[in-house]
Chain length 730, copies 2
């Protein structure tokens, strides 16, 4: 895209700056960065902010998405660096009971040893971002609302997407910014052959495990390497031994000097979701309902999945990434809840909104334009509250992560959607997504486990069985043989019997059968007489009803929330970063410690000394023997260019004030000379609520210093060929 | 005593200083301080080191011992400030189920409201310290060793003590310094009427409880006030309503400015025990045997005592201080063990001794003088190892803290010792100690509980029942009906039956009966037919045998250890502080934070902000409502002279590098102008192993800032009359 056009688009971003926002807050669209010039200069940033607006130039052209994680090119041969925790799936996919890459790590000594990352692995290279607001929301009469409005803007987005995906290998997303106030079409190159190149052992890459997750001081070597492959013609293609390394136009140079306290750094990546433009009412529902629910369910689910793995190593392997992900979510959710309630974030949000309301009321024109927006949004939220738990339980049951029933639901819904013209299909089930859906169904094999499914389905049905009489899901009552008010033991027996019968006979655990269902119609699926497909068929009408209701409410909300965002922006003077939505962003900050609690200071850097202090030789702190030997060598005279002269040790992790969230994992951290100085991989526990409300004082992101990465590659894993492939700046 | 004489005595302390010891290490005898002048000046200390040598001058004359805790006079009317945790016994003694001073605190509004602290409460004012080394160890032929040597020097100490205690109210202790290389006679005034004046609520005085014990950041208002009373004639006397406040010659002024980072401070008090002059072999036994044993037993004992209190509030109250003390010990012991093993302290000690051995071997004269000392000490230690567990189990059983059997043992042994001439009695049972022993037997009432005794005796006997065949305690086997190799269940049944029978019939739970036994002979005690007194009588010969054996080994060790200490001193160049032994000491340091772990820095001060952060309204973090209200008032405009201008808040606790240990609790922390700026009350977890080996970098003591004390007294507890009584320096 052309920067000039974007700048034009973002005129609101250039309004006078009287807001108290620090340079640290904001996951900025690259196109907004030039407007930040003054602020960045004041913060000590020496680079040219204008370069960011060119997404295909340097450095933004080197920043890629893995779909859920961020990454960057670090060689002209498509070598990609990201977090260790972002390649868990690839490590799991390539693990066998006798070769556990998740524990031992992996290093391809040659290109031919590089392993396919598994189905569904992707590298997305952002090519263009266009403002399509007018095309999405322009010229719609005010009377059109609810489902009609929802369907209309959804159709327009589909059309915009389709037009941009005509060329093979391109992927387009029309994304909403500022709660639907703006829409941008983002076009990406979608590379489908992604290979695992190098991951250190878990004792480095996941050192500290769940114990250290979200914590500081941190000593995690959370880095790994992938490589993007394309057809010999240079186009995205499915895995083939004939494929060749992708040659990006830009790749990052790796700094051998890492980052130091006080230094200005920036992070470029694809943050997933934040909710800073959500109303107080919405945040309050999150605190009162969603977070406690997630805490409870994750806790129970982790216990459940850990139990099913005991004495069954294959099951344990299959549920391991799910447990890790649940644990991560649990820690985060607990932290958010704590920060919201005890930490006072909810009160701050309440105050913020009260100020907004007062600001609106202070001016008749504003009052007339925005005065009814917040109450109207609240009313819609309240409407959804009534059936939320029932609907959520049904969704949890039918779409359980990593389950065969979840696969059945997907297959059945796909069959139903396929019967429609493509433009009328639910966006998720449009033809453009079929390959990915198919890959997901393929990839599922590594997680699929009858024993785990039995436990999870039983757990979900037990909750459904306890629903009050006026909220029953009748089709489930009928299928399973449940009745409101039934004694728990009776319901449990019926559930156990029913679940056992469905799972025993279902062939969806068989990869070929499952993928063989992919192109089938509803009638064909029915004819297969698979118990889980029958369950999916039976649930389909109920779920469609819920979805249609959601579209009706959604359409009404889509009419209101842009006005809310407009009011927030107007009040703040315009230059505000939009909420994260999985698109490319840049955030600026400083390497800096923080007084975490009264009397306790998080120093900005950690070193190998901490690895020695924490290493226990087992569990989450099982630093590899080769690493401990390398540390001993360093302590007894061996020199390394990665020793920091001030710290007199190799730096491991550092803190900075950059504003990040989930999805940012693996993001490049760069210095003012655009050199890679670190990889973003986490935030401190105090940071978790920043998705809702950013606290300039306390928020800290956690990065792995490139000096640790280079030291491990040199001294522990001897990945010399990769070191030679990269450009290392002394 | 005359300083000139002492200086003379400590000539060894004046040798050239080439040792690398920092100013922070060392619990110095006040008489050593003038020799530290240069070092203290270099560290930034501005006071006159010579003043310390005058124990009856200012400031040392204001520093007192409570026997186990330290304290200091802060008014001309005998007002004493110490730690909150040092007045637990007084709070417990004055508590009733409906008036729990341990929770609610106490404030006497007038002198008449001041409460007796309970039997055994003491204030010791040090009057003189004399070198009596020649009188204790001089002129003994080299052939005299073992028990003969032990008895001889014990007798000489008794004679020295008796001579100095002729005057009523004086207490003398002849204490060993440098492992018996030096002996000093310390004469103290012993004040026996001690009253509770003021203790804040547990939510301030014990804020953080076990969770925060040994931790930082800390927010504990660990201060309380007592008052010393004497007869109208100004002499020490038992409690009487006619007694009047003691008028000390010196008392400390209280600084309203507390202590600030970088400031030189010193702590004057009565540190209990350190073991820095113990051989590596001795430390090793501590690590391999004593510490793990204490960890295991304390853990089990805490669980036991907590269980017996469930559903029995009176029992729970009676065992509460015991649990608190066990918990404190457990945390400390765990920390010591961890520091010793994982933290490498044991290795440092090993290296230190290897260097000493090499230094000895490097010179023929040294080798001839000290060459055999360390192996000889090791051989004696090894000898004791064989029966140590058996002897320890017997001691644990017969002398269990706070038990009726422990009282029986004391009474029986007292009767046996009383039959001898006073000069031949075991020092503990000499006439001079009878009043204290009697008070202990009286004070025991607040802890004595049949239910707790049953649990503890059963627990101890179960371990005795499992002793191997060649280590049996035959008298116990016979009494209880135990046999080696007996099935556990059978032994347990026999134990339970026997314990139940003894406890049920024993009248030792009755205060009057117990105190009535005090003056009885063995025959009279036998005639009382009390089951527990009979047990004590039966165990007496076995215990006497063990004690005699200990005297034999002790005498041999007393011949060796002074030589070891002499070698250490000679190698260090002379100016080294002796191990703590409960006598008056001074330690110098700086208010300073510490990098506790790689990446984590303990800031040197905490503030009210942390109280707010930690306050949960319950349990260990139950900050009183009045305090929270006072904080709110402060946050909303109320001013206070105790707000630190840099921190913009009232400081609560601070860290310093001073060298302290148990017994130092309650010690005055003074600034260079001799003003009270804080109260020492704890050390960080990293500090616990400093009793064995001092780590200059990591060791930190924890103090309560006088500004917090003054703020709480002013704003929370309105103790205006006490504030008026003290001299507060602005």
């Amino acid at each position: 895209m052309r920067p000039s056009r974007l700048l034009n688009v973002l005129t609101f971003a250039l309004a006078a700056m009287s807001s108290p926002l620090a340079a640290d807050e904001g996951m900025w669209m690259p196109q907004q960065v030039p407007a930040l010039a003054e602020r960045l200069a004041a913060a000590g940033f020496q680079g040219d902010p204008r370069t960011f607006a060119d997404l295909t130039g340097f450095p933004m052209g080197a920043i890629v998405s893995l779909g859920g994680c961020s990454a960057s090119f670090v060689s002209p041969d498509g070598l990609i660096v990201t977090n260790h925790h972002c390649v868990q799936g690839a490590l799991q996919f390539n693990s066998r009971p006798d070769r556990n890459l998740m524990v031992d790590g992996f290093l391809a000594r040659t290109r031919t040893e590089e392993l396919p990352s598994g189905p569904g692995s992707r590298v997305f290279v952002t090519l263009a971002v266009e403002d399509v607001t007018a095309a999405v929301t322009g010229d719609i009469p005010a009377a059109v609302t609810g489902r009609a409005y929802h369907d209309l803007i959804e159709r327009r987005q589909k059309e915009l997407t389709a037009a941009r995906e005509k060329q093979e290998g391109y992927r387009c997303t029309v994304a909403s910014f500022f709660q639907g106030l703006k829409y941008f079409a983002i076009t990406q190159l979608e590379i489908r052959d992604v290979r695992l190149v190098y991951a250190p052992a878990a004792g480095i890459g996941n050192f500290g495990g769940e114990t250290d997750n979200w914590q500081w001081p941190r000593h995690t070597g959370d880095f790994s390497f992938l490589r993007a492959y394309v057809s010999p013609q240079g186009r995205p293609a499915a895995y083939s031994p004939d494929n060749v390394p992708f040659q990006p136009k830009h790749w990052l140079k790796v700094s051998a000097r890492g980052a130091s306290p006080g230094e200005v750094v920036f992070v470029a990546g694809y943050p997933g979701r934040t909710a800073r433009f959500v109303t107080y009412d919405g945040v309050r529902e999150t605190v009162d309902y969603q977070l406690p629910r997630t805490i409870r369910r994750n806790t129970e689910m982790i216990a459940l999945l850990e139990k099913v793995g005991v004495g069954h190593p294959e099951t344990a392997l299959r549920v391991s990434t799910r447990i890790r992900s649940l644990n991560n979510g649990l820690t985060k959710t607990r932290g958010v809840h704590e920060a919201m309630v005890r930490g006072g974030v909810l009160r701050q949000k309440e105050r913020q909104e009260a100020e907004l309301v007062a600001w609106i009321a202070a001016d008749p024109a504003r009052q007339s334009k925005y005065g009814t927006v917040i109450p109207a949004i609240s009313a819609l939220n309240a409407e959804r509250t009534r059936t939320r738990e029932r609907n959520q339980l049904l969704a949890d049951f039918a779409g359980a992560t990593g389950s065969a029933l979840g696969a059945a639901e997907t297959l059945y819904r796909l069959a139903a959607e396929r019967a429609k013209p493509d433009a009328e299909r639910d966006p998720v089930f449009q033809e453009r997504n079929w390959p990915r859906t198919r890959e997901n169904l393929d990839r599922l094999q590594r997680n699929l486990d009858r024993r785990a499914d039995h436990a999870v389905m039983t757990y979900n049905l037990a909750a459904i069985a306890r629903l009050p009489a006026d909220q029953r899901i009748e089709v489930i009552d009928r299928l399973v043989g449940l009745k409101p008010g039934q004694p728990d033991a009776e319901a449990a027996a019926a559930i156990d019997r029913w679940v056992g019968a469905q799972l025993e006979k279902s062939r969806l655990y068989d990869r070929d059968f499952r993928l063989g269902c992919f192109d089938r119609s509803r009638a064909e699926l029915d004819a297969m007489e698979d118990p889980l497909l029958r369950v999916a068929a039976a649930l389909y009408p109920v779920q469609e009803g819920i979805r249609n209701q959601a579209k009706e409410t959604g359409g009404k909300l889509e009419r209101l929330t842009p006005l809310y965002a407009e009011a927030v922006l107007a009040r703040a003077g315009g230059l505000v970063a939009p909420d994260a939505n999985g698109t490319l962003r840049v955030t600026f900050g400083t390497v800096k410690g923080v007084e975490n609690r009264d009397g306790l200071f998080y120093l900005p850097q950690t070193t190998l000394k901490g690895v020695e202090q924490k290493a226990t030789g087992k569990g989450e702190f099982n630093a590899p023997a080769a690493q401990l030997a390398a540390i001993t060598a360093l302590r007894t005279g061996r020199t390394s260019p990665y020793v920091d002269s001030r710290l007199k040790d190799v730096p491991v992790n550092f803190l900075s004030t950059v504003d990040t969230t989930g999805g940012n994992s693996g993001s490049a951290t760069l210095n003012a000379r655009n050199e890679l100085v670190g990889l973003l991989f986490d935030g401190t526990y105090d940071t978790v609520a920043s998705d809702y409300f950013y606290d300039t004082e306390r928020t800290r992101s956690i990065h792995c210093d490139t000096r640790y990465l280079l030291w491990v590659m040199t001294e522990v894993d001897r990945a010399d060929h990769l070191l030679r492939e990269m450009t290392i700046v002394p």
